[in-house]
């Protein structure tokens, strides 16, 4: 059963939930007050490394492909460096900067209001679909468009249709073309199909996507290949490989955030009169971490600390490890589940759900701790139908024109 009341589910009293909220607020305050030089140095270092990797990758391809002797190693090294650079830019830098994690530095060069990332999705649309819709309505059926991204059936409450038999294929396509899937995410294709989308807004968003996408495609598939002369084909393939690597990796990391078995779903009733403390609690119940070393966490944009990220989306990502220790202690104290496991384990569970839910509910069993509730209407809510925006999830705005 998707959860309609987090208090009831966790057997906590209202006072206990509010106390938990105060303790989490205290963790936030402590981190906010201790942000310092070392944190600023961290993000600047990551940015420097990322730009170094990107430049090294491009130069390796441009120069190394020209001689027959160095061609193969240069291709492998170049594609690899570029893939790493794109992963680091999208995940540890872009995603986190756009949440406003580094706005406290008062540095306009590293600020959520103007950061544009190296992927097809325009930052403005990302900040709406992710910072607002996903982070505020996390795992609420019918409200969080990230439950299956409008493509996959990821909750048993979503009504089955024979088209979902193709889910394993859709999943593979989504993984390979992830940046383009993300690029279209804020459009709401279903509203467009049913004619409910405001045509002016749709044209504006499409123009934005077209402009951003064109620049991205030109760079990787026209300009750099053209600069490679006779080796244009190799450069083009290397760039495509780098993009594909980034797509597969970010797809996998993101699917580990809310689709492992321990990450629960909620019904619309939970949103009614939800307090800040209950919002915290929903984030803890709806998110899943994965375990790994420091490098893995940096390469996954610190999303292995998904629970901490959802509690404090705008605190600097380099602080998540220390926050995690405190959050785990709180989970133990209040007897709240803290979902984590090795990366392959978490992704395995997500993949199993994708496969199982391609079939009707009657043919498979649920892996969630609770049985499913009645199915829900999958139509996306417009902003006007949603509860008022409330917390620290990072900003968004709609510009008037593309």
């Amino acid at each position: 059963m998707a959860i309609s009341d987090v208090k009831e589910y966790t057997h906590l009293t209202e006072e206990e939930v509010e106390q938990l909220g105060r303790e989490l607020d205290a963790i936030r305050a402590e981190v906010e007050e201790s942000r310092c030089d070392a944190d600023a140095a961290y993000i600047n270092r990551v940015i420097r490394v990322q730009r170094g990797l990107a430049a090294a990758g491009r130069l390796t391809l441009l120069a190394g492909l020209q001689s027959r002797r160095t061609r193969t190693p240069a291709w492998i090294a170049g594609a690899g460096l570029l893939g790493l650079a794109k992963i680091l830019e999208n995940m540890e830098i872009g995603h986190n900067v756009m949440h406003g994690q580094w706005d406290w530095m008062n540095d306009p060069e590293i600020h959520s209001s103007n950061w544009e990332w190296d992927t097809a999705q325009p930052a403005e649309q990302w900040k709406h679909s992710h910072n607002y819709i996903h982070h505020q309505f996390t795992n609420v059926l019918g409200h969080d468009n990230d439950i299956g991204y409008g493509v996959l059936r990821m909750a048993r409450e979503q009504r089955w249709h024979p088209v979902y038999l193709g889910q394993p294929v859709f999943n593979a396509l989504l993984a390979g073309l992830f940046q383009w899937g993300v690029a279209l995410h804020d459009l709401d294709l279903e509203a467009i199909r049913t004619g409910k989308k405001d045509p002016v807004e749709m044209r504006r968003q499409l123009r934005q996507i077209a402009r951003k996408g064109r620049n991205q495609v030109l760079k990787d598939y026209v300009v750099y290949p053209a600069l490679s002369g006779r080796q244009w084909r190799s450069t083009l393939k290397a760039n495509a490989t780098a993009n594909l690597t980034r797509n597969l990796w970010s797809y996998m990391i993101i699917f580990c955030g809310h689709f492992p078995d321990g990450a629960l779903h909620f019904t619309e009733e939970e949103l009614e009169d939800e307090t800040r403390a209950e919002w915290y609690l929903r984030q803890m119940l709806g998110s899943a971490n994965f375990e790994g070393g420091r490098l893995l966490h940096v390469m996954s944009g610190s999303l292995g600390f998904q629970i901490e990220h959802h509690l404090f989306p705008d605190l600097p990502s380099n602080r998540y490890p220390e926050i995690a220790v405190k959050v785990q202690a709180l989970c133990e104290k209040y007897d709240i589940p803290y979902t984590t496991g090795p990366l392959h384990h978490q992704y395995g569970q997500a993949l199993r759900t994708i496969m199982k839910l391609s079939l009707p509910n009657s043919m498979t069993s649920s892996d969630k701790p609770e049985p499913p509730s009645p199915s829900v209407d999958r139509r996306r809510r417009t902003d006007a139908e949603r509860p008022r925006r409330r917390t620290e999830t990072g900003g968004y705005y709609r510009s008037q024109s593309a």
């Binding site: 942000r35 310092c36 030089d37 070392a38 944190d39 600023a40 140095a41 420097r48 730009r51 170094g52 430049a55 491009r58 406003g100 706005d103 406290w104 530095m105 008062n106 540095d107 306009p108 060069e109 600020h111 959520s112 209001s113 544009e116 990332w117 190296d118 900040k127 910072n131 607002y132 951003k212 620049n215 991205q216 030109l218 760079k219 300009v223 750099y224 705008d314 925006r389 409330r390 917390t391 620290e392 999830t393 990072g394 900003g395 968004y396 705005y397 008037q400």
Partner: protein, 370 residues
């Protein structure tokens, strides 16, 4: 890439246009985002400068010689100030200081002179804690406390303490022109108040200028021993002050006194003031006029209307997100004035500070960059 087509043409390709073309390679970043990693000054994304030298002027004041990076135009007018942003504990803090060096056509550096204020942690850091080589952010010169072109024949500078810095830029400019054109300096009187001789910034240079230019007179007043300048006795100090265009710069009480004295004499239009101390609007009450600089709109608001609401009412296309002070979407740059955060009473008054408009109200008049 169109700029590259001009290579064979008569027009040379400008370096800026070449870099803009390079952004096809670096999109969504700009080539400067990479170049600045090779040399921190090689970027126009934000104006930057490198501190070349820190010259102690007095016990508590120092001149910072700064080499600006790309995009800096050395065309400040003598008397103007620049913003300087320094990252301390990870956060950029901004202050404005008068440029003390004269404008240069082929200059490579600018100089600002800073006095460490007792309560000013940033000024103290600038005077004592800034190592040569430090990269700082800069904001373009602004201010209308400037030497007119051409300068009037008779001038009076009324200066208190570190108020000498913009005046020094004017004197140096007059000196340079006098030397290069072999013309005499205009009739200039500088009345310079300072607690002690030791605390007088630029005292040796002023003595040198005074010696070289007969038309420059410097009155030195050491207020610890001789007391403050009383404007009622100004006639005995300088009988022709009414004939002079006057520039006054110093502590707020001094400027208030000067302002009313000149007003009483009916000479307000010949007085130029530079207030370089923080002014809390009126009696510290809340509300005021918000000016939205880029759109040129203004809004009169009380102490309960947020800057965001005021902007929207005035028809400014304000960015907004959560409207609850969390998301930072509404963040704008504060150009001048003071605003208060309704959540915790914190006040923001640094020029170029990023402020969240949805949870802040003006404390007196303020200006925002939108």
């Amino acid at each position: 890439m169109c700029s590259l087509n001009n290579v064979a043409g008569t027009r040379t390709v400008s370096w800026d246009r070449f870099r803009d073309a390079g952004s096809k390679l670096t999109t969504p970043l700009h080539p400067d985002d990479y170049l600045r990693l090779l040399n921190p000054l090689w970027t126009q994304r934000e104006l930057r400068g490198r501190v070349e030298r820190v010259i102690p002027e007095t016990e508590d004041a120092a001149t910072l010689v700064i080499r600006p990076g790309w995009g800096w135009r050395y065309d400040h007018r003598p008397g103007q100030y620049v913003g300087i942003g320094v990252q301390l504990d990870g956060k950029f803090h901004w202050r404005s200081y008068s440029v003390s060096s004269p404008p240069q056509r082929r200059g490579r550096t600018i100089a600002i002179t800073v006095r460490a204020m007792p309560e000013g942690f940033l000024s103290d850091h600038l005077v004592r804690g800034l190592a040569p080589g430090t990269i700082v952010r800069l904001a373009s010169p602004s201010g209308d406390f400037v030497l007119p072109e051409p300068p009037p024949a008779k001038m009076l500078f009324l200066v208190g303490g570190s108020g000498i810095t913009p005046v020094m830029a004017m004197l140096r400019t007059l000196d340079r022109r006098a030397r290069s054109n072999a013309r005499a300096m205009p009739d200039v009187v500088l009345h310079y108040s300072s607690p002690t001789p030791e605390r007088m910034i630029f005292r040796e240079e002023l003595a040198d200028l005074e010696q070289r230019h007969p038309s420059l007179t410097v009155h030195r007043l050491h207020t610890d021993t001789d007391g403050m300048l009383s404007l009622s006795t100004l006639d005995t100090v300088l009988d022709d002050w009414r004939d002079r265009d006057t520039w006054a710069c110093g502590p707020a009480p001094m400027l208030d006194a000067v302002e009313s004295h000149w007003e009483q004499a009916g000479l307000a239009d010949r007085l130029h003031l530079e207030r370089f101390s923080l002014e809390l609007g009126g009696d510290g009450g809340e509300g005021g006029t918000i000016t939205f600089r880029t759109t040129g709109r203004t809004a009169e608001v009380d102490g309960a209307t947020t800057v965001l609401e005021a902007g929207e009412t005035a028809g400014v296309g304000m960015p907004y997100g959560c409207r609850m002070g969390i998301c930072h979407t509404c963040t704008l740059t504060l150009v001048s004035g003071t605003i208060r955060d309704l959540r915790n009473g914190n006040e923001f008054s640094q020029p170029n500070e990023q402020v969240q408009t949805c949870v802040t109200v003006p404390v007196g008049d303020c200006t925002l960059d939108i």
